[in-house]
């Protein structure tokens, strides 16, 4: 009892401080709030930094929280731009009918295994599906040694998990036999430590601690992602509630400009300019109407 009192007091003070700070910053006109996909977060942060360097007095906050949280944030007006690594769901569209998705780049998802797993270098999309639905449980079923496959998943709601479910599982259910790791980093460090494991992470998070598997004999290289021959890929999106205006429109324009796309490329994403057939939008008007046609396909 005695201890609860000061703790509660402190939390109250902290809450007041945070609320106070939140109020002042959101009423200021020169602040842009982004929230959403953790896959987009590092990209958006890099863009925000460059943007703020060019536009003094402007603050761009990039929050995470996941795709769904980003959609809610933009739908309820907490954020001006929601970031998403998955297309809007029907229920999200029903809840916030004015939401508009704008693709900003192509992001691949790499299927990764431990570097010690030298026997397996390629899997077909169907094999990956069967591993994740639980129909294949032993590495020897896909050309590896006779050990159980330790399947690593992301948590429910993760955009990366959602991407795998759409592209690889074709909407099917994940087997419940695997474990769930709470972030890209956690998946990577788990797979780096377990020779029998398989996991998935965004291609831009790849490094030598894990080994990316070829899918249908195609490696997740930049060129293969750009021309779509590596099939586990999706568009990363900005989502606005109604046509973007003011700072949001300006930031979207910047993102789609060649400077913005160069930053995304440096972040390991595939620039829209390298996607065959992509037509860059005009960047002079403030109410940008990006080519929403490019969002239609994610495979």
């Amino acid at each position: 009892m005695k201890k609860i009192f000061p703790i509660a007091l402190i939390s109250l003070l902290v809450a007041v401080a945070v609320f106070g700070a939140g109020c002042t910053s959101s009423t200021s006109g020169s602040t842009l709030q982004l929230a959403g996909s953790t896959s987009v977060q590092p990209d958006a942060q890099a863009l925000a930094q460059a943007y703020m360097a060019n536009n003094s007095g402007v603050t761009v906050n990039v929050a995470g929280g996941g795709t769904a949280a980003g959609i809610t944030a933009v739908g309820t007006g907490t954020a001006q731009i929601g970031t998403a690594s998955a297309n809007l769901t029907a229920s999200e569209m029903a809840q916030y009918p004015n939401l508009r998705p704008y693709p900003i780049c192509v992001d691949g998802i790499a299927i990764i295994v431990n570097p010690q797993n030298t026997a397996v270098t390629n899997l077909t999309l169907t094999q990956v599906m069967n591993i994740y639905t639980g129909n294949i449980t032993n590495w020897n079923q896909v050309g590896g040694s006779n050990v159980k496959i330790n399947v690593v998943n992301r948590e429910q709601g993760s955009g990366t998990r959602d991407g795998i479910q759409k592209i690889v599982l074709k909407g099917g259910n994940f087997s419940t036999g695997g474990i769930t790791q709470s972030s890209t980093g956690a998946v990577k460090s788990y797979v780096a430590g377990d020779p029998n494991s398989i996991g998935y992470i965004a291609t831009n998070a790849l490094d030598t601690s894990v080994k990316a598997i070829n899918i249908n004999n195609v490696a997740p290289t930049y060129a293969n992602l750009a021309d779509g021959t590596y099939v586990i890929e999706r568009y990363l999106l900005y989502v606005t509630n109604g046509p973007p205006t003011g700072l949001a429109a300006s930031f979207l324009n910047y993102t789609l400009s060649s400077a913005g796309q160069a930053i995304l490329k440096a972040q390991g994403e595939v620039s829209l300019n390298d996607v065959p057939g992509y037509v860059p939008p005009t960047t002079t008007t403030t109410t940008t109407t990006a080519t929403t046609t490019t969002t239609a396909t994610t495979t």
């Binding site: 609860i4 007091l9 769904a68 949280a69 999200e92 998943n153 429910q156 709601g157 909407g171």
Partner: protein, 303 residues
């Protein structure tokens, strides 16, 4: 809490003749007390208002079925948290089963056996153990214990056993410090009486000291249990978080707290309410534990 409040009000009324400075301080204290109660009350109301309607709608199946697909974009949400409740219970009870005997043994050692020099070294170490952030424990377990389990027993390594090991260590400081106080509070005369009859030190500890300290020790165990069931970060890292009924102690599990933490960031709509409903379930668990703790510490020292 309520008693404190009433007392504060009464003191305020009586203090008419005291000087203004003192009254002012009392007023501040009263405001603090009221606002802290209010804050706790608000949190409880909020969690229940979010969770209870969902519980009412989802019905008993929420607690008894085993398929948990709250955020599946291809299927309507499926809500069954039985494996998660089970996971929380297994993880908590196991951690206490390991941590309590260890902690009590440590407490007896510190209170009765350790030479003063050793005690001076160990007591601050135990407090330091309590101050380590849980994410550090979790990270340590992820890097050391999980690979060890994987190497020894196969499987993922992230498992019930990993949770037990790390949680039992994490609840040690609570159990040790509260139990040590309980053992030291046993009147010296009991110990002398026993020794003077030719009982050995161990017989004295087992037959007199521990029984006489049992209510305090019990309270320490239940406090430790509360810490174990509420622990989130460390468990999140080493549990594996799969929503299935675990087949062995080497299988991954998920717990109420870890699942809430894992999914809260993404959850919207019904999913979010389902997580709050899990919060309500957790709250009820903790309420039961706190009740037990109070009972245990109030129980008269007879046996």
């Amino acid at each position: 809490m309520v008693v404190t409040f009433n007392r504060a009000v009464r003191t305020l009324r009586r203090s008419g003749t005291r000087d203004a400075g003192e009254r002012f301080i009392q007023l501040i204290l009263l405001v603090c007390a009221v606002s802290s109660i209010f804050a706790i009350f608000l949190i409880i109301v909020f969690v229940f208002s979010q969770g209870v309607p969902f519980l009412a709608e989802a019905g008993l199946g929420f607690l008894t079925t085993s398929v948990w697909l709250p955020a599946d974009s291809f299927a309507a949400g499926t809500w069954g948290i039985f494996p998660i409740i089970l996971g929380s219970l297994i993880v908590t009870l196991g951690a206490v089963a390991i941590g309590a005997p260890l902690g009590i043994a440590c407490a007896v050692f510190l209170a009765e056996i350790a030479p003063p020099a050793v005690r001076r070294l160990l007591v601050p170490s135990v407090s330091a153990l309590a101050g380590v952030p849980s994410v550090v424990y979790g990270f340590f377990a992820l890097l050391v214990i999980v690979p060890w389990i994987r190497g020894q027993f196969g499987g993922f390594g992230t498992s019930i056993l990993a949770c037990w090991i790390i949680l039992s260590v994490m609840i040690l400081p609570t159990i040790i410090s509260v139990s040590t106080d309980a053992v030291r509070a046993v009147p010296r005369e009991y110990k002398e009486g026993s020794l003077a009859m030719g009982a050995t030190r161990w017989q004295t500890i087992r037959s007199v000291l521990i029984p006489a300290a049992s209510s305090g020790i019990m309270a320490s165990v239940i406090l430790g249990m509360g810490r174990a069931i509420g622990e989130t970060m460390a468990v999140l890292l080493v549990a594996g978080n799969s929503v299935t009924i675990p087949g062995s102690i080497f299988a991954p599990v998920s717990t109420l707290t870890a699942t809430i933490a894992l999914e809260m960031g993404y959850a919207t709509g019904a999913h979010q309410q389902a997580l709050f409903a899990m919060g309500v379930v957790l709250f009820v668990f903790i309420l039961i534990l706190t009740g037990l703790a109070n009972l245990a510490s109030r129980r008269r020292v007879t046996f």
